[in-house]
């Protein structure tokens, strides 16, 4: 055996973090701040804060296709183009699907961004805590396994992550949506204020409507600028006004002097050491040169996105872990979930013709879950929340179909109808057979076996969608809206880009992959703190919970390392 000890020493760190998105950025920040030398691996290119947000300051007329996709972009991005996020405005932030295919046993829309920052650059920024209702649902109705933690375990970590990330919002003392450490809330517009009052009066505050809690700064925060109300967040913010790896966690990690960031580093698998029964390090493929190299560390944090993480774990096989790393339970790859949405109602507000708004608020309103709580009982399990808002556009009720000409043009430039919409985000149950496996018949551009995704929504979700439409219409009616219409545009798993599960936490190693510290039951120095870890998904936007779980797990991991337990 030819031991190159110098190279080994050069490639050895205290901790390796796989993935630089929302949770990976947090892992890097926490571990470096606690004094560990950290290697942060990112499979895609680097994107430097501000400098590389190449479209952020462009005016509408400076986009050649004014936001639309070319036929060539549609050809190379057959999945990304399925829904609105992939547009000319931030085209380079989305993967070329032809390079990294996957097998859709059933249709699954997998939105991905391979670059430093991952989806933290394009995320929706809505930030809601889980409540004990969410942590207890699995136990109560028997779907999925019991969460190994409760709200009290995560509360201080929510506090901690919110204080750093900068979340604006309003405390409401609502049982399904715990309060937080918020920056001043954004303002509702006059229609939203009216709708809020009328809904809360009508339902005697058994339903509430609050301003969206969003990771956009309403005041300057930790050296970052406040939101300028351009509503162009998904291009990258030159003011650093929303939370991303680039604006927030990466500079903090860099400031410690303990971070090494390596872009173009695709992890093919985690290397398992038979003797110590721990992970020794990772095998990396340089995604530009295809060169293979190994890196070593005492701790590995896997933050490759829900399915990216599980793909790595499934591909990390050894004599001791023949079905994937830490998969003695057989649960790795199972219990895939996503929110279902694109369903609700909208109506028109009357009596506000003399009112308008100023600025483009990159945020809406939120109606937190109220179903299957207290006296509210439904014919389905769990529940949903609504996101929405009111706005005034150039649309007028009396415009004829396909109208054209001078009068039409001039009318389009005058503020028209006030519209108010409510769109549901519903919890999907953890079904064991919603799963991903490795499809070894197909390889990606780098020669790695691809994922096969087999996931569907079912009866509980279908029933819930009826309520998502009807309740929205009922509330809009109670709020005095006119011409209310309901809609269901259909929702395919993956579309909400809230895919979670496939390496769930739990107290029992026989039925879960991770313990209550996001630590692998079977491999004590491997932690998974992205969406893969979730035993259930609630109906809240999940990223804030990933942040809190990551900070908590990093704290535990370093403490255990210092005690010599890892």
């Amino acid at each position: 055996m030819n031991l190159n000890t110098k190279a080994t020493a050069q490639n050895t760190y205290d901790a390796i973090v796989i993935g630089s998105g929302i949770s990976g950025g947090w892992a890097a920040k926490e571990l470096t701040e606690k004094g560990l030398k950290v290697l942060l691996l990112e499979r895609g290119r680097n994107i430097e804060h501000i400098k590389d947000y190449t479209t952020a300051m462009k005016k509408p007329w400076e986009f050649e296709h004014r936001g639309r996709l070319t036929e060539e972009q549609k050809r190379t991005h057959p999945v990304q183009m399925r829904d609105y996020p992939y547009q000319e405005f931030n085209e380079s932030f989305w993967v070329n699907d032809l390079d990294c295919p996957y097998t859709e046993v059933k249709r699954f829309d997998w939105y991905r961004g391979f670059h430093v920052g991952g989806k933290s650059l394009m995320w929706g920024r809505q930030s809601y805590r889980f409540s004990d209702i969410n942590f207890e649902d699995n136990l109560k109705d028997g779907h999925g396994n019991d969460w190994p933690i409760r709200y009290k375990d995560l509360e201080k970590w929510y506090d901690y992550t919110e204080r750093f990330a900068g979340i604006s919002g309003q405390n409401e003392n609502w049982p399904a949506l715990p309060d937080g450490q918020f920056l001043p809330p954004m303002e509702m517009n006059c229609v939203e204020k009216s709708v809020k009052k009328r809904i809360e009066d009508h339902y005697k505050r058994e339903r509430i409507l609050t301003i969206g809690r969003t990771a956009n700064l309403t005041v300057p925060h930790k050296g970052r600028g406040k939101c300028q109300y351009r509503n162009l967040c998904s291009r990258g913010c030159p003011f650093g006004a929303y939370f991303s790896t680039q604006s927030s966690t990466l500079p903090a990690a860099v400031a410690t002097g303990n971070l090494t960031l390596r872009p173009y580093s695709l992890v093919s698998h985690i290397i398992h050491d038979k003797e110590s029964k721990k992970a020794k390090g990772v095998m990396v493929i340089d995604s530009e040169t295809n060169e293979n190299m190994e890196f070593y560390a005492k701790i590995v944090f896997v933050n490759g996105s829900t399915l990216g993480t599980t793909q790595i774990l499934l591909n990390s096989t050894s004599d001791e872990h023949p079905n994937g790393l830490g998969n003695a339970s057989g649960e790795l790859g199972h219990n895939l979930m996503d929110h279902h949405f694109r369903c609700g109602a909208s109506g028109q507000a009357e009596g506000f013709d003399d009112k308008y708004t100023y600025g483009r608020r990159a945020n809406g309103i939120y109606v937190p879950r109220y179903q299957n709580m207290g006296n509210d009982k439904r014919n389905y399990l769990r529940g949903f929340g609504y996101q929405g808002g009111a706005s005034r556009t150039g649309w007028h009720q009396d415009v004829a179909e396909l109208a054209f000409g001078g009068d039409f043009k001039d009318q389009m430039t005058v503020p028209g109808v006030w519209q108010m919409g409510l769109g549901g985000f519903g919890e999907a149950l953890p079904y064991h057979d919603n799963k991903v496996t490795l499809d070894k018949t197909k390889k990606d551009k780098w020669g790695l076996p691809v994922l096969a995704i087999d996931c569907s929504f079912r009866d509980n979700e279908t029933k819930m969608r009826e309520a998502m439409k009807n309740d929205a219409a009922e509330m809009l009616e109670a709020a005095g809206m006119k011409n209310i219409v309901t809609y269901d545009n259909g929702s395919t798993p993956g579309m909400a880009i809230h895919e979670q599960g496939t390496a769930r936490m739990g107290n029992d190693p026989k039925t879960s992959v991770l313990n209550k510290w996001n630590q692998m039951h079977e491999v004590s120095n491997v932690f998974v703190t992205d969406g893969a870890c979730m035993p259930s998904i609630g109906c809240q936007n999940p990223s804030l919970t990933f942040m809190a779980l990551t900070a908590r797990a990093a704290d535990y991991a370093v403490a255990e390392l210092k005690k010599g337990n890892i």
């Binding site: 351009r230 430039t413 005058v414």
Partner: protein, 220 residues
């Protein structure tokens, strides 16, 4: 390098002093004389596009679509962003428009008066509304039939995809595309965004409830 790129690099050399709109107008002013392989449209059709757009969004108290460079924009969009079948439908639509113009007014579309163009386009509009309605009804019938067939299947097979995202109907209509691209091109152009609409690059704050000013325009 094609002409558009050439014009753009001139703009670049001039330090970006030419705005996109100016480039648009510049392009509109000097079309290539023959149908180049990379262009869907003949030189005459390129001229038609500008007049067609200007009929859909004419000059009123603010400049219209021609001044905003929408003609070349439609040409570019048709070339880059539409499948071949839509391109064919669109080119045929232009040919029909020219034929109708000559049949009815004994004159080329570009030589018609604005009132004549509006009259002609009104006819195309009505035909498009009728065609869209007809196609929608047929699609609904087909969907009902598919749903009925699905009902016959055992529940287990149905359960897989009860809420699949609806597929958009891939039908193309000349007038609908022309109108859509004119509105997109115009209201996102510098003239459309800043003169017809009100464009504020960096609002800096959000006020949720302000009184409408007299003459208030929609924000771009």
């Amino acid at each position: 390098m094609n002409r558009r790129d050439a014009v753009k690099s001139v703009a670049f050399l001039m330090g970006g002093a030419l705005s996109a709109t100016t480039i648009g107008v510049f392009l509109e002013g000097c079309q290539p004389s023959k149908n180049s392989s990379e262009n869907l449209f003949s030189a005459d059709q390129e001229k038609m596009l500008a007049e067609l757009a200007d009929t859909i969004i004419p000059t009123t108290k603010t400049p219209g679509a021609k001044a905003a460079g929408v003609g070349p924009f439609i040409s570019l969009m048709m070339k880059d962003c539409y499948p071949e079948e839509a391109q064919k439908v669109f080119v045929k639509g232009l040919e029909d428009l020219e034929k109708n113009s000559k049949d009815k007014f004994k004159n080329s579309f570009v030589s018609l008066t604005p009132a004549q163009r509006t009259e002609l386009l009104g006819k195309f509009r009505e035909e498009t509304i009728a065609a869209q309605k007809n196609d929608k009804d047929e699609a609904a019938k087909l969907q009902e039939k598919e749903a009925a067939e699905l009902e016959k299947k055992p529940e287990k097979e149905r359960a897989g995809n009860p809420m699949a995202a609806k597929k958009p109907v891939a039908k193309h209509y000349f007038f609908a595309i022309a109108r859509d691209l004119t509105m997109l091109g115009y209201f996102t152009s510098e003239i459309g965004a800043t003169q017809a609409y009100e464009y504020i690059d960096i609002p800096g704050r959000y006020d949720g409830c302000v009184d409408m000013k007299p003459g208030q325009r929609v924000y771009a």
